[in-house]
C-alpha cells in the first residue's frame, strides 16, 4: 500500500440477536480509493476486519435491490453510493429504518413480501388471447402509462423513508402500491376492481400523509408517492360513487 493510501472511518450499527440486547455502534478504518462504493467498504470489513458482519448484496449495479442501507441517515443503495462523497468525514451505516433488524445490516422483509403477494401482482386479462394469436397490441404511449411503476426493484428504500409506514407497519406502503397501480393501468389488465378493495381498506392509501420522501429516495424514479396519491383519488371516487352504480363500486 502506498503512503498516499487514504483511510476512511465507517461506523456500522451492529446487532447480534444471540449476544446483544440492542444494537450498538462499531467503527472500522477502511483503506479506500475514489471509485469505491459504500458496499465495497462494507465488503472490505467483512473480508479483512470482521468476518461476522452480515449484510445482503448481489448485483453491485443497482438493479437487484438487496443492498439498501441507511447511509448517514438516508436510505440508499450501498452499491451506488460512493465513499468519496463522505471522505474525510466518517460515514455512518445502519440497517434500513422502520424494519425489524435480523442481524447487523440485515432487515426482516417478510412483511413486504406478504404485501406484494396481496396486491395480485399479475395480469388479470381484460380479454383472453391465445399464444397463437400473438402478443397483445400496446402502443408506446400505453406502455409509458405504467412503465415507470414497473421499474420498482423492491429495494424498500421507500419504506425506510416513509414515517407513516414506520408508525404503522400494516400500511401497504409506497412500493407495493406502485406495483398494484402498475397492473391497474396496464392496458392488458382488467383486474382493477379486485385490487381496489385493498386500496380502500384501513391498510390502504389513506395512511399516507403525502410526506413524499419515498419518491425522493427511490433510486429507480418510480415515484411511488404518485401511485399512492393518485389512488387516494381513485379510492375516494370509489367510495362516493359506489352508491350510484348498481354493482357497488367503480369498475
Amino acid at each position: 500500500m502506498s503512503e498516499k493510501q487514504k483511510i476512511i472511518e465507517i461506523e456500522v450499527l451492529r446487532y447480534h440477536p444471540e449476544k446483544d440486547k440492542e444494537p450498538h455502534k462499531q467503527v472500522f478504518e477502511v483503506p479506500f480509493t475514489d471509485d469505491m462504493s459504500v458496499l465495497q467498504g462494507v465488503q472490505y470489513i467483512k473480508d479483512y476486519l470482521d468476518g461476522s458482519l452480515s449484510f445482503r448484496w448481489s448485483c453491485r449495479m443497482a438493479i437487484c435491490g438487496s443492498c439498501g442501507m441507511m447511509i448517514n441517515g438516508e436510505p440508499s443503495l450501498s452499491c451506488q453510493t460512493f465513499l468519496r462523497d463522505y471522505y474525510p468525514a466518517r460515514v455512518r451505516v445502519e440497517a434500513l429504518s422502520h424494519f425489524p433488524i435480523e442481524r447487523d445490516l440485515v432487515i426482516n422483509m417478510e412483511g413486504f413480501i406478504e404485501k406484494l403477494e396481496s396486491i395480485q401482482p399479475y395480469i388479470i386479462p381484460r380479454e383472453t388471447r391465445t399464444l397463437a394469436q400473438g402478443e397483445y397490441l400496446q402502443t408506446p404511449e400505453q406502455l409509458d402509462a405504467y412503465e415507470q411503476f414497473s421499474s420498482c426493484i423492491n429495494c424498500l428504500l421507500c419504506y425506510a423513508a416513509c414515517p407513516q409506514f414506520g408508525l404503522n407497519s400494516n400500511f401497504i406502503g409506497p412500493a407495493a402500491t406502485a406495483l398494484l397501480h402498475r397492473y391497474n393501468v396496464d392496458s392488458r389488465d382488467g383486474g382493477k376492481s379486485q385490487r381496489m378493495e385493498l386500496i380502500n381498506s384501513e391498510e390502504g392509501v389513506f395512511n399516507c400523509t403525502a410526506v413524499g420522501y419515498c419518491s425522493e429516495v427511490c433510486p429507480k424514479h418510480v415515484d411511488p408517492a404518485n401511485a399512492v396519491n393518485q389512488n387516494k383519488t381513485n379510492s375516494a371516487a370509489d367510495y362516493f360513487l359506489r352508491f350510484l352504480t348498481p354493482k357497488g363500486g367503480a369498475k
Binding site: H16, D47, D50, S52, S66, L116, E135, L137
Partner: protein, 596 residues
Amino acid sequence: METYKADVVIVGGGGAGLRAAIAVAESDPALRIALVSKVYPMRSHTVAAEGGSAGVKQATDSLEYHFNDTVHGGDWLCEQDVVEYFVAHCTEELTQLEHWGCPWSRTPDGHVNVRAFGGMKIERTWFAADKTGFHMLHTLFQTSIKYPSIKRFDEHFCVDLVVEDGRVQGVVAIEIASGELTLVEARSVVIATGGAGRVFRENTNGGVVTGDGMALAYRHGVPLRDMEFVQYHPTCMPGTGLLFTEACRGEGGFLVNKDGYRYLQDYGLGPAEPTPRNKAMELGPRDRLSQAFWYEQQKGRTIEGLHGSVVHLDLRHLGEAKLRERLPQIYELAEQFMGVDPAHAPIPVRPAVHYTMGGILVDGRCAAPLAGLYAAGECSSVGIHGANRLGSNSLSELLVFGKVAGVEAARFAKSVAPGNSASLLKQAQAVEQRVLGLKTKTGGSERIATLRKEMAQTMEDGCGIYRLAKTMQQTCDKLDELKARFRNVNLEDKSSVWNTEWLLAIELEYQLDVAQAMAYSAINRRESRGAHQRLDGFEARDDVNFLQHSQAHYVAGGPPRIDYGPVKITKSQPGTRAYGAAGEKAEQEERKASNV
C-alpha cells in the same frame, strides 16, 4: 430437523427456476412445488441481464437463420436437435411472457420491437429498454404468486441433494435467517442455480453466482459438460467488471483503440461502415471481440487506466435522446459509477468473464443422468451454446428449457412413488452434521477471503481469453493446493442467525470444485474453438479429435476425470466461422452450393 413434503422441488428462483415452477403448476395443480432459493427470487442474477432475449419475430427472419447463427456462433459444438427445438419455441415463450405482463419495448403500432445483437443475422432480440432481465424476472416472479401450489423457501441455502435407490428424492437447505436445516422431500428435483462466473476475478456476475447447483450435481456423479468454455464479454467496466450491454453496439456504438481507430476491421470483422451491419464489426460475436482486444493490448494500442488496459466504447454519435430512451440504465451506470457522460465522452471498457457455456449434463428434455434430476438455465448444459453463446440466447433458454424441465419433472414425479421418509431424514441428518461441522470446527488458520481471491486470480491467469498449457497447469496445481488449504479454513462466526461467513465458506467449496472442472477440461482440450483459444501450438480447431463435448467427472479427494461425448450434428456440417464481409461471402457460397 423440519421436513417438508413436496412433489417437485426446484432449487433456484432465477428466470429458469421460476419458469420451471410455473410449468409444474400449470401442468398439474395438484403437485406440491417447493421453490428453494438462497436469495429472494427477484434478487437472482437474471435481474442484471440488460440487452434482450432472442426469438424470430420479423417476416424476413426464419427459424433456420436463428438455428444457423446459433450453431455457427457455438463453433459447431452444439446439439443440433436441441437447438432446433430451442429456436422453434423461443417466440412462443416470449409471447407467453408478454401475456404475463412483461413490458417489452414496442413499435409505434403496438407490436413488440426487436433490436440487433452480436452474431445474429437479423434483428430478433426482444427487449425491455436495457432492463430486459429485470423485467423478465419480475414478471415471472410476480406471475408465480398466482399459483397457490408453489410454496417458496426464500433465503434458503441448498447444501445437498438426497439420493436414494438410485434416484434423487429431495434436498437439504439452511434457512438463512435461523441457521436451521430443513429437508425438502420430493419425487423430482430441478436445479436452476445459474452460472459460476464468480470463480473469476473480474466478472459481470452478482455475488450469488457461485456455481452451487453445478457442484451439487457433480458431487453426486453427474458430469459437468464443456466447462472449459467461459465467455468473456468485451465491454465491461474496468475494476468492477460491471456490464455495458451488447445492445450498446446493437444500437450502433463503436469500439475504438487509443488512436480512435475501429480496430475490429483488422481482425476479419470489417468493413468498417458508419452503421455496423449485422454480424460484422461491433456486431460480431463476443469471443472474437474479446480476442481482438487481447491483440490490441499486445500491440500496445490500448489505453492504460487505473484498472488495467481499456479501449473506448463510443456512443456519442447516437445522441443523448436516443441513449436515454434505449439505454437508460447504461447511461446512469456510466455517469454514476465512472463519472462519464456517454453522450459527450467515450466509455472506457475491457473484457470480463460473463457466462459459463458449460454445466450440468442434461439431454434435450433437461434430464440429467441421475433419475429424477433435471437442470435448466445457466447451470445446465442442454447443448445450445456450444463453444460460445450468442448474446440474447440465454434469456430465451431460461424460458424454453425452464418450461421443459418443469414439465418433465412433473411427469417424472407422477411416475414414481414417494420415498421412505425415515431413511431420507437419516441422510439429511448426516448432511446437517457435516455442514454444521464446517462452522463449529476450531483451529483453522485460512481466511475465506484469501482463498477466494487466490482462486479468482489463478482462474484469470490460467483460463483467460487466451490459454497456454503452462499457465493452465499452474492453475490446476493452484486449485489442488487451495482445496487442500480449504480443509484448514477458519470461521470467526459460529452463530446461527444470518451467519453469512458460513454460507461463503460453503460457496467457496462449491466454487473450487467448479473451477477445477473448468481448468482440467481446458487443459485437456488441445485445440482452439469458440471461447477456448490456445496459443501453444493448438491455435486451430481440430474437428478430428475434438468435435466432442468434454465431460468432467467428480473424483473425491482428487482432480476430476475428463472424458468426451459425441456432438449431435443434424443439418449443419462444421464449416468456417466467418464474420463481416468474409462471412457474407461464405454464406453466399454455401447457399450456391446447396442450390446446385
